[in-house]
């Protein structure tokens, strides 16, 4: 619960790399225009995936070449590259500059929490496994460890910018990106940092996605219509579409942001992180409704907010059978039935599910919608799920220009883990 001793925290910078955008300007346009970044991927067909649709950021190599030296590119896999690109954008957006390479000391007041759900399996499959299997250990070289270590993305970003506070990577499956932001906020609230770059990232290597395909949780029914394949909230939702990319927020102590005249997107009024412990309906793969609702309520309590104040929800909404349950959980937690429910949409309907990057990319989507005053249409739910038909009017199928004052974002992950963030538009 929020107490007067906690520092106030605001968002001062955003960065994103997503299947339908390489930066926040493109992402705003794509969200508003409901542009899908999902494509049929021949490599998945060749490998025998049942789901052959995925979301991969387009044409990023040329940008990475401009941003990063050959030595840096040599030591960054896909997920790290996305995190680095989004971090540079977010840092610049916040009006901050990376420290020069010859600086005497790092920025001790600034840190990073950037997680992945799965991690650098591209590095593992391309370098580690072939090298070890062929007993040519020496051939692995010096760049493997920094790419497969769990903290690879945060470490690279910390070095690019010169960060001297905590530099760390969390991992909580599909909850990772939202959890990273909540962790960074809590660190600033506690007075342990002035600002943190927070978010998540994930690559698109088929080795990352294969296990999900085997679990039959990916949609295998729309390989011929990739833009229609991610169908959150629909009766025909047949599983999620794997995505990739990174989202990064610069979260900062309010006083610091005001003192340096930073542009403020929103205040983060409250956060919550919990787990269902795989009890009361929860399991490794299914969220416990009780704990999801508790997480949302805890975030509201931390924000000292009446649930009626929420006017927009960016859902987790992956296009599995859990979507109707999620809507009911929100309704229960907010004590708002179909007649008084806030607007809700699924950014995954355009970009698929970027796993450890998802919550962060979707938080960026939330903040861009708040800034520009719209709620993007949720694609592919024309055949709305009958179990939650009463809520259909609250899911825009076309983009609506409406101001958002207070938004809620939540993510849920394997392991029965949850997190929730409440944003309030600055000056609202």
């Amino acid at each position: 619960m929020q107490t007067p001793t906690l520092k106030r925290v605001v968002v001062t910078g955003l960065g994103v790399v997503a299947p339908n955008a390489r930066n926040t300007v493109e992402f705003t346009e794509s969200l508003r225009g409901m542009r899908s970044g999902l494509r049929h991927l021949p490599v998945l067909q060749e490998l025998g995936f049942a789901c052959q649709v995925g979301g991969i950021p387009q044409d990023v190599a040329a940008i990475a070449e401009k941003l990063f030296s050959e030595d840096l590119r040599f030591s960054m896999n896909e997920a790290i590259t996305y995190a680095a690109m989004a971090s540079l954008e977010a840092f610049a957006d916040a009006g901050l500059k990376p420290l020069p390479a010859d600086a005497d000391e790092p920025m001790y007041d600034t840190g990073a929490i950037i997680g992945t759900g799965i991690g650098g399996l591209d590095t593992f499959s391309e370098k580690v496994y072939p090298g070890v299997a062929s007993k040519r250990i020496k051939r692995l070289g010096s760049s493997v460890v920094e790419q497969i270590m769990g903290s690879g993305a945060a470490a690279r970003v910390g070095g690019l910018l010169g960060l001297g506070n905590q530099v760390y990577s969390n991992s909580s499956a599909c909850n990772t990106g939202t959890e990273a932001i909540a962790l960074g906020v809590q660190r600033i609230q506690a007075g342990l940092a002035t600002r943190m770059l927070c978010g998540g990232t994930e690559g698109s290597d088929p080795h990352i996605w294969a296990g999900f395909d085997s679990m039959r949780v990916l949609n295998r029914g729309h390989n011929d219509r990739p833009e229609a394949a991610s169908r959150p909230l629909s009766a025909s939702a047949g599983g999620f579409i794997p995505g990739s990319g990174a989202g990064i927020l610069v979260v900062e102590e309010l006083e610091s942001a005001l003192a340096r005249g930073a542009t403020i997107y929103a205040e983060i009024l409250g956060t919550a992180i919990n787990s269902g412990g795989m009890r009361a309906g929860g399991s490794m793969t299914a969220p416990s409704p009780k704990s999801v609702q508790r997480c949302i309520r805890q975030a509201l309590m931390a924000a000292s907010l009446n649930p009626d104040a929420i006017d927009y929800i960016n859902g987790h909404l992956t296009a599995t059978m859990a979507d109707p349950l999620e809507v009911k959980n929100w309704s229960e937690a907010l004590e708002r039935g179909p007649g008084r429910f806030p607007l809700i949409n699924s950014t995954k309907s355009m970009i698929g599910h970027a796993l450890g990057g998802a919550g962060a990319i979707e938080s960026v989507a939330t903040l861009l919608q708040m800034k520009h005053g719209f709620v993007h249409g949720s694609r592919n739910c024309e055949d709305f799920h009958p179990d939650i038909a009463a809520f259909a009017a609250h899911v825009p199928q076309q983009t609506r220009n409406v101001p958002i004052s207070i938004a809620a974002k939540a993510s849920f992950g394997f392991g029965d883990v949850n997190s929730c963030i409440i944003f309030q538009t600055w000056g609202a």
Binding site: E70, D71, F74, A101, G141, S142
Partner: protein
């Protein structure tokens, strides 16, 4: 392979990892790979692997440890090729 060709390949391989771009402009055989070019010392492993691939030879750990300057690298490659 001519000495000049060895030199240019050695420079190309090492330059990929150089952080001091100014020092790249005044390269010579005396240029120190770590001190002058500011190559991360961990990357010497990758540079040696690149030498092995480019010049089709094998470099022992002891030989690799003796490389400090561009000239050291060129001499080692030349010796191993003949």
């Amino acid at each position: 392979m001519e000495q000049s060709e060895i030199y240019s390949n050695v420079v190309r391989i090492i330059s990929k990892h150089a952080k001091n771009e100014e020092a790249l402009k005044t390269l010579n055989t005396e240029t120190h790979i770590i001190n002058d070019l500011q190559v991360n010392s961990a990357r010497l492993v990758d540079i040696v692997l690149d030498f092995e691939d480019t010049f089709n030879l094998e470099i022992s750990d002891d030989d690799a440890d003796r490389i400090s300057t561009i000239g050291d690298a060129v001499k080692l490659v030349k010796d191993l090729m003949h």
